[in-house]
Structures are given as C-alpha cells and as structure tokens.
C-alpha cells in the first residue's frame, strides 16, 4: 500500500488527546501513516470527516443528513 501524500481531518470542535491518539492509530493501521492536518468546519454539524488524497470518508452529521436526502 502506498503511503498517502495528504491526509486531512475535519471536525466541528478540536480533537481531544484521546481522540487524536485513536485516530492516529487507525490511520497508521489503514494507510501506513499517522501524519495528518486538522481543521475545524462547523458545516459538518457534528462527527468527523477524513480526506485521504482525493478520497473522502464522511462520518459527519451533515454527511448522514445528505445521505437521507438522497434516499
């Protein structure tokens, strides 16, 4: 697996220490790297969104609402 060149984590409020640790562990396991950029995005409404290179993994409230709307 190639190490991603860019990983970006978005949340509404800053990640806690435990959350950062857990997330790093997850990303290291899945992508081989635990280095990521963080930013705050109130539009998410809650939850978390991770962008790895050009792929987005959306576990935010906004993403869930958008999925419901499509259905």
């Amino acid at each position: 697996m190639n190490t991603p060149s860019h990983m970006h984590v978005e949340t509404v409020i800053p990640l806690s220490v435990e959350q950062t640790k857990e997330l790093k562990s997850l990303l290291k396991k899945k992508f081989g790297s635990d280095s990521f950029k963080t930013s705050l995005n109130a539009a998410l409404l809650g939850g978390i969104r991770v962008t790895v290179n050009s792929t987005q993994y959306d576990a935010s409230v906004h993403g869930k609402l958008a999925t419901l709307r499509i259905k």
Partner: protein, 161 residues
C-alpha cells in the same frame, strides 16, 4: 187484250241480256270490289290485331323490365344502406379508439407530470427538512455532544475506511 208471245220473248231476252250485262258489268265488279274491300278490312283488322299484340308484348316487356329494375334498385339501395351502416359503425369505432388513445395519452402525461411534481415536492421537502435540521442541530449540540459524535465518527471510520 192480245198477248204477243214474240214481244214477251223479246222482253225476256231483253231482260236476260240486261241481266247478263248487269251481272257482268255491274254485279261482278261490285262483288269483286266488295270482296276486295272485305279483304282489305280483314287485312287491316289483322294488322291492327298484330299491332295490338305487339303493343301488349312490349307493355309486358316494359312491365317486366320495370319490375326487374325496381328489384335491382331495391337491392342496390339495401346494399348502400348496409354499406352506410357498416361505415357508420367503423367510423364510430375509430372515433372511440382515437378518443380512448387520447385519453390514455392524456392520462399518461398527467401521471408523468404528477410523478415529476411529487418528486420535485419530495426534493423540496427534503431540502427544507435538511435546512431546518441543520439549523436545529447547529443550535442544540453542545461540546459534550460533539465529543460523543466525534467518538462515534471515529468508530464508523474504522468500519468504512
């Protein structure tokens, strides 16, 4: 009075001659003329009867032809009536079919439009709900709830990544 035999004889002869002359010169020609006239009358009568007979034949033929012509005309009229009735039936059926097709077409268009409108309304409703929900969530979620949501989000990421 003295009867003169010679005179009587002479008169008789005279009479006979006159009679003979009259017979030859008058009686026979007149008789002949009468015979001829009778023949002519008979011939004319025959000709008249022949003409009458021919007229009757022609009349009979005319009558027969008229009867036949009437029959033919009646047949043609009946046939024309049947054809007209058939045509009327066909036209009525065609009109009914066309009306039915138009009705089906209009119904189909209406259904499509209804479906499209319903879909549009659902989208708009969903958008409205989405907007309201966004606003409500944005206003009601506190820090504790956000932390919990992030924890849940990380767990979900573990499944989807």
């Amino acid at each position: 009075m003295e009867i003169k035999l010679v005179q009587i004889l002479f008169q008789v002869v005279n009479f006979g001659v006159v009679l003979g002359a009259l017979t030859v010169l008058l009686y026979k020609p007149i008789l002949k003329m009468l015979d001829e006239r009778a023949k002519k009358v008979e011939e004319a009568d025959k000709a008249a009867q022949e003409t009458l007979r021919e007229k009757e034949e022609i009349d009979a033929l005319k009558k027969k032809s008229k009867v036949q012509a009437d029959r033919d005309a009646a047949k043609l009229l009946e046939k024309a009536r049947e054809q007209a009735a058939e045509l009327k039936k066909e036209l009525a059926k065609k009109a009914k079919d066309e009306l039915h097709q138009e009705h089906e077409k209009a119904l189909s268009v209406w259904k499509q439009e209804k479906s499209s409108m319903m879909s549009e309304m659902q989208k708009e409703f969903a958008s409205a709900v989405f907007a309201v929900t966004e606003k409500l969530i944005g206003q009601s979620v506190d820090k504790k709830a956000h932390t919990k949501l992030i924890d849940q989000g990380i767990k979900e990421l573990a499944k989807i990544v």
